[in-house]
Amino acid sequence: MSTSLTLTGWRTRRPRRRPGIPVGVLIAAVLLLVPIVCVLFPSLGPGNATRIVASDALLTPSAEHWLGTDSLGRDVFARMVHGASSALLGPLLLASVTVAISTVLALIAGYYRGWADGVISRFVDVLYSVPPLVVAVVLVGVLGGGFWLGVAVLTVFNLPHNVRVLRAAVEEQAQLPYIEAAKTLGTKSIRILWRHLVPVISPLIVASFFLRFTYGIVDLSALSFLGLGVPPGSTDWGRMLAENRVTMLQNFWATAAPGLALIVMAVSANIVGDWLYNRYEAAGRAR
């Protein structure tokens, strides 16, 4: 007589960890590769990204122009391919700088505690209570647009959250016996940070990198939309979306292509990031 004696109804059903990589993550990874391929081969497809041909403005998709042309007659598909580099570069730069700085700050604050922790935490509190986009609009609007200024401003405002998350993890690990053992053996602090703490919190670092990458995509395209990021006419997906939006009814794909590309890249980064975090975080956990 077999009875399935499970708890009434609502115990969590722990997701079965199917071996290998789930399909969703595979698709997301492939989608992330597409922009990278575009960066490597910038001249994919027939059209030319920057050539302005006044006569064929706002054509709908055709054999010669796979995604039609924009209001200045430039081939949208070529611009999408060419724009992949700036669409990747911005968020990539933002994510890596944010994660690098926040990891260092977190290690110092979490491991050394004391006055360093106090200073860094105060710094994080100050940034936490400042409205990011509001100040970005003031700074970038006032000092004139520019890709680098946009990335710099957004990097500063992505720091606080990342520092807090990583610092908590470092502080928790720093009190565990394997770190104390390393101390009693006489390992120098720098080596403890580098050889012991960084590998242990590396899944968190990877996950926060992907998270910042996603925020980078969304925030940078927001800046472009407000006309504050990259200069006009540049092949940046956010910029193209903002500019082509105006003539959406004539050539719908000139707006849809950059919009969809931004979303797909952000979603894929999110999915891959989550999966990497769960996979390595479990390996890192003690039990």
């Binding site: 077999s2 059903r13 006489g186």
Partner: protein, 618 residues
């Protein structure tokens, strides 16, 4: 199912219970064909090492299996089969008929709810009319029942209470609706010896006062023998022996039960070597054919490996699952002839050289109103080649003292001289630190966090070898692993692939890499199963003999102190209350606290009759 006098009304009757679950993606059997019976008012114990399936067996009774784990078999409560009930009906049994108490008092109670509310939660759920005032009165009464007389505790939050008190509140909450059966899953494992004794006697009293049947799950045979009427011993998912406490304790008929008893370090005498069982408990999914204990059993023959032996009676109400039970009966006599070491043959300490010389060490955490004195003032010496014990309950400051000796914590005042360097005064030069580190190294308690999980064993050892002073002998990882009895192939392994015992061995190897003269062992065996504990203690003895090491052994387990140390200091609330040679202190304690400590050790209960069932042969 052989006959038990069926007249006795079995409150709970479990037959042919099998539990299957998922391990690494595959469906495996965890528990197979277990039978248990509890009469009303009776206390049974389910004993076994971790991985034996005892905890899941008990959770199946209460339908509390984690998701993905399913149970099959007949569970009859008051002659009604639980299997036939719907989930909702089974849920109605919980609390009023079947109660459950868990191991860790710190996570069992809802941290955000006052204790009084939690106790009365079940009753209020049943009967809405109970007003807040009436509930609080009831709660105070229930607290009284479990030995907490201060009504203010009802308004406290769990985090404001000590471990023992939280366990009492939990028990009060569990039996709020006067259940017929109380299932307790390792209720005292996380507690100190003295608190453990109070809780066990509380459970015993509740059993007698309310006619409560008790099902106690523990890995500690002595706890089982001290409280329960009958014992079921589980190994690798099956019951290998069951019977009345006295019979099983005095004349264990299954080699595994015998080994467990032998592996436990005795409190009263020091034995030359603890019986250590080779190998480990086979994990579900790779149980050997035939008798599952055969690969580790000294008396195993081919016959044992053929088919899985059945449980058969060897005495009234005493069953064993071993084909050779009859033949080897006379060999399984505990302590038949342990080679006892007299106090005279203990290793000689070299009085001249004090590795550790601590005078009036003091440590306070925090400042001002909230300052907490961890160590009042301690005077301790450890001489070369000597093994010294530091005994005390949690919160006594023994760990803080140890950390001061290895330089992890700076003393607030007093002299802490290690290898001639006083850690108490100001800045220490690099040479000073190197001297301290070459003198004393430390091994930690929790096997799961003593190693960096992201580094392989080889890397961890190389990290330590790198730091060994140039002039001393530098062993390579293979040598170190060999020293601690692990195969050299373990270098590539990750800590997650090792068992608890193996991880502690690697931790010891790491400490040895630095060629220290003293190893501070902070409770390194208390988180391990009995058989694994024996391995590690024997290893420490060998290392001491081969390398001339000395130990500062921190523990709350007096039996372990007896086996490992020559001298012992007893610590209470940061002060040393007694010190002297181990046999003297344990056999003839002066200080009242030491006496109470010794009295609380479960192995002792049977002697002075907490539950005096039978005389124990010497």
């Amino acid at each position: 199912m052989t006959s038990l006098d069926t007249t006795e009304s079995a409150v709970l009757d479990v037959a042919a219970l099998s539990i299957r679950g998922r391990r690494a993606g595959a469906e495996v059997g965890i528990v197979d064909n277990v039978a248990l019976r509890v009469a009303s008012g009776e206390a049974i114990a389910v004993v076994g090492e971790s991985g034996s399936g005892k905890s899941l067996t008990v959770r199946a009774l209460l339908d509390l299996l984690p998701p993905g784990v399913t149970a099959a078999g007949s569970i009859r409560f008051d002659h009604r089969s639980l299997g036939k009930l719907t989930a909702r009906e089974r849920h109605r049994l919980r609390g009023c008929q079947l109660a459950f108490v868990m191991q860790d008092p710190f996570t069992m109670l809802n941290p955000l709810q006052r204790c009084g509310e939690q106790i009365m939660a079940a009753l209020r759920a049943r009967d809405r009319r109970l007003t807040r005032k009436l509930c609080r009165a009831q709660a105070v009464a229930r607290l009284e029942e479990v030995g907490i007389s201060d009504p203010a505790v009802a308004d406290r939050y769990p985090f404001e209470l000590s471990g023992g008190m939280r366990q009492r509140v939990a028990i009060a909450a569990a039996i709020a609706e006067r259940p017929r059966v109380l299932v307790a899953d390792e209720p005292t494992t996380a507690l100190d010896v003295t608190t453990q004794r109070e809780i066990l006697s509380l459970l015993d009293r509740l059993r007698r006062d309310h006619g409560l049947s008790l099902v106690l799950i523990t890995h500690d045979l002595d706890v089982a023998f001290s409280v329960c009427d009958r014992v079921y011993v589980m190994y690798a998912g099956t019951v290998v022996e069951s019977g009345p406490t006295a019979a099983v304790a005095d004349r264990p008929r299954h080699p595994y039960t015998f080994s467990l008893i032998q592996a436990k370090p005795p409190l009263d005498v020091r034995v030359d070597r603890l019986l250590n069982l080779p190998g480990g408990v086979p994990s579900p999914g790779n149980w050997p054919e035939g008798c599952r204990f055969a690969p580790r059993c000294r008396w195993a023959t081919d016959e044992c490996t053929h088919e899985h032996p059945a449980l058969n009676d060897v005495a009234p109400a005493h069953q064993v699952r071993c084909v050779r039970a009859g033949e080897i009966e006379h060999e399984l006599v505990p302590r038949a002839a342990p080679t006892v070491i007299g106090s005279d043959r203990l290793a000689r300490a070299d009085e001249t050289e004090a590795l550790v010389h601590v005078r009036a060490a003091r440590k306070t955490f925090g400042t001002g109103r909230r300052a907490k004195v961890a160590v009042e003032s301690a005077d301790i010496d450890v001489f070369a080649g000597e093994s010294v014990g530091l005994v005390g309950e949690s919160g006594s400051g023994k760990t803080t003292l140890a950390r001061m000796i290895v330089g992890l914590t700076r003393p607030t005042s007093g002299e802490v001289r290690v290898g001639g360097v006083d850690l108490g005064q100001g800045k220490l030069s690099r040479a000073d630190w190197s001297m301290v580190r070459s003198t004393a190294q430390m091994a930690f308690q929790d096997p799961y966090s003593t190693l960096n999980l992201r580094l392989s064993v080889g890397d961890t050892l190389n990290e330590a070898i790198r730091l060994a002073p140039k002039d001393t002998v530098r062993r390579d990882p293979a040598e170190l692993l060999d020293l601690v009895g692990l195969p050299t192939s373990y270098q590539q392994r990750r800590p997650t692939q090792l068992s608890g015992g193996e991880r502690q061995r690697v931790a010891i190897a790491r400490a040895l890499a630095r060629n220290p003269r003293l190893i501070v062992c902070d409770e390194i065996v208390s988180a391990l199963d009995v058989s694994v504990q024996a391995h590690v203690l024997n290893l420490l003895a060998d290392l001491r003999r081969d390398l001339g090491l000395s130990y500062l052994f921190i523990t709350h387990d007096l039996a372990v102190v007896r086996q490992v140390t020559e001298r012992v200091y007893v610590l209470m609330d940061g002060r040393i209350v007694e010190q002297g040679s181990t046999p003297a202190v344990l056999d003839d304690p002066r200080d009242s606290y030491t006496k109470q400590l010794i009295r609380s050790v479960p192995a002792h209960h049977r002697r002075d009759g907490l539950v005096d069932r039978s005389r124990r042969t010497p």
